[in-house]
């Protein structure tokens, strides 16, 4: 390895100077001459036919340059090919409070807002559905006529024989769990600047995790060739999945720009961000697990209902992930999964960090903890007894190539003092453990094709600067820095020599986007291949010029040197000049497509879950519970995450700690509160993401299993730790005060109710508390 090796070193992110000086530009920071400001009219009704819209008074207002309604962009779209069920402005009826009805572009924000008030919409109210269990029984007034009983999608999977599995079990437990709805709450509200160019092209700067999907969708909705549209991703102020599908303002700004032939910028208010949503759905999980006398999991059966809101979005993928990853963390021979995605008159849910895996993991790890106690087995030990042995294929066809979970468990058990604490702390104090995992990118693309999932180009010309072109999207997770590190490592140059051009559909080769934790594994592998190609080209040029074999040459420390003949020592610039003599300006390419054997089974829905590799996490959480008030204080969280290889420990730790933080928020304090379809807490004041004061010490431990196919052995780091936090908290609460809370968030009210119920039982009352699960 070169002396200046940058792989495995804690490297600050390359764009951090732009961020700490305030000079970096996010979408809302951009302005261009002649720019109009756009505003969107939202439905005040949860379910209503739109009889007519009168925009004439708005159009007549001085300063208004365009007014758009559903008629102006009637082409339906959606992130999934099977879910093209939404229009940028709904055409037939409004399906949730906040649904998009019309938009205005004007010379000022004040005029645009005034114009919205002048649009008259004649609504005919319809009965609306807010409860998923009621909605899926509905006989009429369905949200979408093509979706009977308001069921978007259902899947029924059976692997092995669960009946035999449960028959073998010495202990069987079935419980219902409820998880409230949570949302991404990225600090940057969505913003889009759409510029109508003089030559009839469209340039769109947008806060997106998926610039290429936006590119494609704009082409379909605007009925313009993709070659006439350019999507550029500026700095993104956090995504977490909330910017991983097409968000209405992106299309609205583009439609208005095309109508007005002017640049149009739309920035969401925070309330609009909440209504755009696409977060984690209300989930009802009926979880049944069987455990043998020896502590082996013999069968799992889960029935999952997700309240998907008004549109499809990623819904079918979410409900499939819930099943696919349910049985793939441990060695489980028999799995039954019944998953339902239900439509209701609320904002659409979608992908949120830990997509689909989180609420089911909460249920499973909680039940496993109770079963371990029934069997008299230590909760950490029961997890050890059910480990996979990689490499292997799980019962549902997922290929596991590296598996650091055993080491993750060992690390947190040792570091937390588990053996001295579990079951031994004074009443009111407790420690819990739980595990989780996640994909390193989806092995199958959303839109099936044989195009590589990602391509990276590298260019070097006479200036000897290294320009890397990647379609991958930096959203704050370290994508750009990862590329620079890989290229610097392979070419043996300083990171400062590398200039990165990223996520600009006109300049960079296609990449599917920043979702499902795919970037390091997939774009990283493509980047590695491109860098190796470039290295070979430079060395071939040097070898030809100096009559040496390429095998005798190495690139390191900004030099090309001969390994056997110290006389040859070229600076990088000299080596590039030599290579240019033979080839002219150098261009290299790398691509990545997941191997065929990683793409999963053949059953219906088998496309979701397969990944070229999986990350693993184990966590311990220590809590104190005040039995008088129900207040929960989390003292410390230790999270060990198997990321394969930490290309950049600084950013890996940041990702793990951020995941734990977000999981803890869902565990204890975050919940979207609904009243007949109206979001009651659409602000950061009322939707309580944790401040410094509510966030305990989080200690991250990196476990490196060195994946055989990951770039330098690396795999996912940004999502896999989230899901373990929630059940680890629930299990710690059980250890502290002996009540099982089956409902998220775990509030003091639920703790007190469970303690009262437990007190009644102990005094001889009826049994049957399930901690408030609905």
């Amino acid at each position: 390895m070169a002396m200046n090796s940058v792989i495995g070193k804690p490297l600050p992110m390359i764009e951090s100077r732009a961020k700490v000086t305030g000079l970096g530009k996010y979408a809302d920071d951009l302005s261009v001459p002649g720019m109009l400001i756009g505003r969107i009219l939202h439905s005040p009704h949860a379910h209503a036919v739109i009889r007519s819209i009168d925009t004439s008074r708005a159009e007549a207002l001085p300063g208004v340059k365009a007014v758009a309604t559903g008629r102006d962009a009637p082409h339906p779209y959606g992130i999934l090919p099977i879910g093209h069920d939404e229009c940028v402005f709904t055409v037939d009826k409004a399906r949730y409070i906040g649904d998009n009805i019309a938009a205005v572009a004007a010379t000022s924000a004040a005029i645009a807002e005034q114009a919205l008030d002048l649009i008259h919409v004649d609504y005919e109210l319809l009965p609306a559905f807010f409860d998923p269990l009621e909605s899926m029984q509905s006989a009429e007034h369905w949200l979408h006529p093509t979706k009977p009983n308001n069921i978007e999608k259902e899947y029924h999977h059976l692997f092995g024989s669960v009946d035999e599995g449960f028959a073998q079990a010495a202990f069987v437990l079935e419980q219902r769990f409820f998880a409230g709805e949570v949302t991404h709450a990225a600090m940057e509200p969505h913003a889009t600047l759409a510029i109508w160019e003089p030559d009839g092209r469209l340039t769109v700067h947008s806060s997106t995790q998926v610039p290429y999907y936006l590119h494609r969708t704009l082409s379909e909705v605007l009925e313009m060739p993709m070659s006439q549209i350019r999507v550029i991703k500026p700095l993104i102020g956090g995504g977490f999945g909330g910017k991983s599908e097409i968000i209405p303002l992106e299309v609205a700004a583009s439609v208005l720009a095309k109508m007005a032939k002017r640049p149009v910028k739309i920035t969401y208010t925070r309330e609009e961000v909440f209504l755009a949503h696409r977060g984690r759905p209300i989930t009802i999980v009926d979880m049944k697990v069987g455990l043998t006398e020896e502590g082996k999991i013999s069968a799992v059966a889960a029935r999952v209902v997700q309240d998907g809101g008004a549109y499809c979005g990623y819904g079918p993928v979410t409900v499939l992930y819930s099943g696919a990853l349910l049985g793939a963390l441990y060695d489980i021979p028999n799995v039954r999964y019944d998953g339902f995605r239900v439509l209701t008159n609320k904002p659409a849910c979608g992908a949120m960090r830990g997509h689909g895996t989180v609420n089911v993991r909460f249920a499973f790890e909680s039940v496993l903890d109770d079963l371990a106690r029934d069997a008299g087995i230590d909760p950490a030990e029961v997890r050890r007894r059910n480990l996979l042995k990689a490499p292997c294929i799980t019962v549902n066809g997922l290929r596991v190539t590296s598996y650091g979970l055993p080491e993750c468990i060992e690390k947190v058990v040792e570091r937390s003092g588990w053996k001295e604490k579990q079951g031994k702390l004074p009443y009111g104090k407790g420690i819990g453990i739980a595990c989780s995992h996640y994909v390193s990118g989806a092995a199958n693309p959303i839109i099936r094709s044989n195009i590589p999932h990602t391509t990276v180009h590298i260019k070097i010309d006479r200036d000897a600067g290294v320009t890397v072109y990647t379609g991958a999207s930096e959203i704050g997770q370290g994508s750009d820095t990862m590329h620079v590190q890989i290229v610097a490592e392979i070419l043996g140059v300083r990171p400062e020599r590398i200039r990165l051009i990223a996520a600009d559909t006109e300049l960079t080769p296609i990449d599917l986007g920043s979702y499902s934790s795919r970037v390091t594994f997939m774009a990283g592998n493509a980047c590695l291949e491109a860098a190796r190609n470039m290295r070979a080209q430079i060395l071939e040029g040097v070898a030809a010029k100096y009559k040496l074999g390429t095998a005798m040459l190495d690139m390191r420390d900004e030099q090309v040197i001969s390994l056997d003949d110290s006389r040859l020592r070229l600076t990088f610039d000299e080596a590039v000049a030599a290579a240019l003599e033979f080839r002219g300006a150098l261009v290299a390419k790398g691509t990545y497509a997941p191997p065929e054997e990683s793409r999963g089974g053949k059953h219906k829905g088998a496309g979701v879950g397969p990944s070229p590799s999986y990350s693993y996490s184990a966590q311990t959480v220590e809590v104190s519970v005040d039995t008088d008030t129900g207040q929960i204080r989390v003292e410390k969280i230790i999270a060990a995450h198997d990321c394969g290889r930490a290309l950049n420990p600084l950013t890996v730790e940041g990702q793990v700690e951020g995941s734990v933080y977000m999981g803890l928020g869902q565990a204890l304090q975050e919940e979207m509160v609904w009243d007949n379809g109206r979001l009651m807490n659409p602000s950061l004041l009322e939707y309580k993401i944790a401040t410094t004061l509510e966030t305990p010490e989080i200690e991250s431990i990196i476990v490196e299993s060195i994946d055989p196919e990951g770039p330098f052995g690396a795999k996912e780091a940004g999502e896999g730790s989230l899901a373990a936090t929630i059940p680890a908290v629930a299990n710690a609460i059980y250890d502290a005060v002996g009540v099982r809370i089956n409902s998220l968030p775990i509030t003091p009210e639920k703790i007190l109710a469970a303690l009262r119920e437990k007190g009644k039982q102990q005094r001889g009352g009826k049994s049957g508390s399930n901690g408030g699960a609905r």
């Binding site: 600050p12 951090s16 600090m187 951020g658 950061l684 989080i698």
Partner: protein
């Protein structure tokens, strides 16, 4: 609404700008003066992304009327340091991992600067307290604390190297 000419002093420079009396300082900074480093992350003064220093005290520019601050020294993130000479809080956050997506960063830098100006050696609890009105959705705050500690070390080193002329 009728516009009035107001005078502001931002990052040490004088500006004259015609604004309606109800225009918020954050909008004047971002739209009229081009200081887009201060961000709007919420509708209700709950996120801290827009924090600026007014006469050295951290204030939310999203709830401040610009015309009320004509006689004050206003410092935005752009005024903390220069590209050639980052302020220790800037270099601390750049190198310590305290800035992931970066959207909350300017607000955190402003709050940290205000803290270290009044208390150059804060305890962890004092840091947590001082940063409790800034929300970060990325980091879980651990690397923000590391970044603040780095800033403290660098500020102390700078002061030791140049005791007379150290710019806070």
């Amino acid at each position: 609404m009728t516009k009035h000419l107001i005078k502001l002093k931002v990052n040490g420079e004088p500006y004259e700008v015609a604004v309606p009396p109800n225009k918020l300082l954050l909008d004047v900074l971002r739209e009229d003066l081009g200081f887009t480093g201060s961000k709007r992350g919420c509708d209700d003064s709950s996120c801290g992304c827009c924090a600026v220093l007014i006469d050295g005290a951290p204030m939310l520019a999203c709830v401040a009327l610009a015309s009320s601050y004509q006689d004050c020294e206003i410092t935005t993130v752009e005024g903390l340091g220069t590209l050639d000479g980052l302020h220790p809080v800037q270099s601390g956050f750049a190198d310590g991992g305290g800035s992931q997506c970066g959207f909350c960063t300017s607000g955190f830098l402003i709050s940290t600067k205000a803290l270290l100006d009044r208390n150059p050696q804060p305890s962890l609890d004092e840091i947590r307290e001082a940063l409790s009105s800034n929300l970060c959705r990325c980091t879980g705050y651990m690397q923000i604390y590391e970044s603040v500690k780095l800033a403290i070390e660098r500020a102390a080193a700078r002061k030791a190297a140049n005791p007379a002329g150290a710019r806070s």
